[in-house]
């Protein structure tokens, strides 16, 4: 709540003409936005570009921020929409697993196996239907609550729960199919 109030103060300062208030919001959320966008695109340059676009769009449309939800969920939603628009307009072909599986990460056998497993999980995540992928990224990776995820995705909490569970279930199946064990 305190965090939400702080964000709203920055927004109000900006609307009152203090353009530097934007800097505080960007610095506060830049890493989280970049991480989400990277997990969506899996390309560093795209993620950098889309992170900047997300903030520009947010600030240009800041008058439309009604303060009913938190600034965090509002800007996450912009990031997701910006990434999805980019992905739809610029669909990359099948991503190779080389970088993550075969990898240039020499190490012990267990490290190699772990890298392989991560690669398959990542690929499995890419192959999930869009809503399931979003729910997993926002819930599991970003630690957003069901309510926050629902606000970002623009759907009900029930739908978020369903998408999340189907997504996680599918990822578990992928790990099992490949014969990997889950560390406990």
């Amino acid at each position: 709540m305190k965090q939400m109030d702080e964000d709203i103060q920055f927004v109000e300062r900006y609307l009152d003409g203090d353009t530097e208030a934007v800097d505080a919001l960007v610095v506060k959320y830049q890493k989280r936005i970049y991480t989400i966008v990277y997990r969506m695109t899996r390309d560093v340059e795209d993620a950098k570009d889309l992170t900047q676009k997300t903030f520009i769009r947010a600030i240009e449309g800041i008058k439309g921020f009604r303060k009913e939800s938190s600034f965090k969920t509002w800007i996450y939603r912009i990031a997701i929409n910006t990434s999805l628009t980019h992905l739809k307009g610029n669909r990359h072909g099948e991503r190779e697993l080389d970088e993550s599986i075969m990898g240039s990460h020499p190490g012990t056998l267990s490290t190699i196996i772990e890298n392989e497993k991560r690669g398959f999980i990542r690929k499995g995540l890419d192959e999930l239907p869009e809503r399931q992928r979003l729910a997993v990224i926002l819930r599991a990776y970003e630690g957003l609550s069901c309510s926050e995820t629902a606000q970002v995705m623009g759907c009900s909490e029930g739908a978020v729960k369903a998408h999340y569970h189907h997504g996680v279930k599918r990822l578990k199946e992928i790990v099992k199919e490949k014969g990997y064990e889950i560390r406990t």
Binding site: T19, E20, V22, D23, V26, V27, Q30, K31, Y34, T35, Y38, R39, V44, A47, K48, T51, Q52, F55, I56, I59, E60, K117, R118, I121, R122, L125, V136, R139, A140, Y141, E142, G143, L144, S145, C146, K161, V168, L171, K172, V175, I182, R183, T184
Partner: protein, 191 residues
Amino acid sequence: MRSGHEEIMELLPEYLKGSLPGELGKEVQAHLEGCEECRNEVSFLREIVDSEVPDPGDLFWQSLAWRVRLTVEEKKKEEKFPLGFLVRRLPVGAAIAVALLLTLISLYPFKDKALVQDPFFKDPLTASVSDYSDTSEKDIPLIAEEITVDESYLPRENYKDLSYHKEFASLSSGEMESLYEALKGDEQSGG
């Protein structure tokens, strides 16, 4: 325990992220000690979350805020003054326009406007490019004849009678000399 198994399951992503408030976090922790299914879920979530995100570097983080602010301010200026884009490029535009104008001037086929609006009139300045291939010898005497009857040389009313130039042409050199002497004498005597 206030929360049931299903509710705790829903809280696991936030628990892993450490974003649960203290009391709720402790409740989840206590549940995990006695629930294998939730422990497995936490383990799996750790597995999928445990993937690296490449760091774009300090330069990106340090410059992002001002790049965003700068871009937004630039766009605002353009909205306020839509022609700003053109004005900024005015020197370039003006240079291009001048160059274009000079090129057009240099390529324009300047000709002196014909003084006589007659399609048959051959302008002497363009005579070098005139085509006389359709002119035959028959046309030459015709032109000479037109000159002899030109009204600017002869009075209209009696030009046929005043054909003395033909008579002069028929005089011999001796006759011309005697005529000259006679006229000279008239002049001296005031005739």
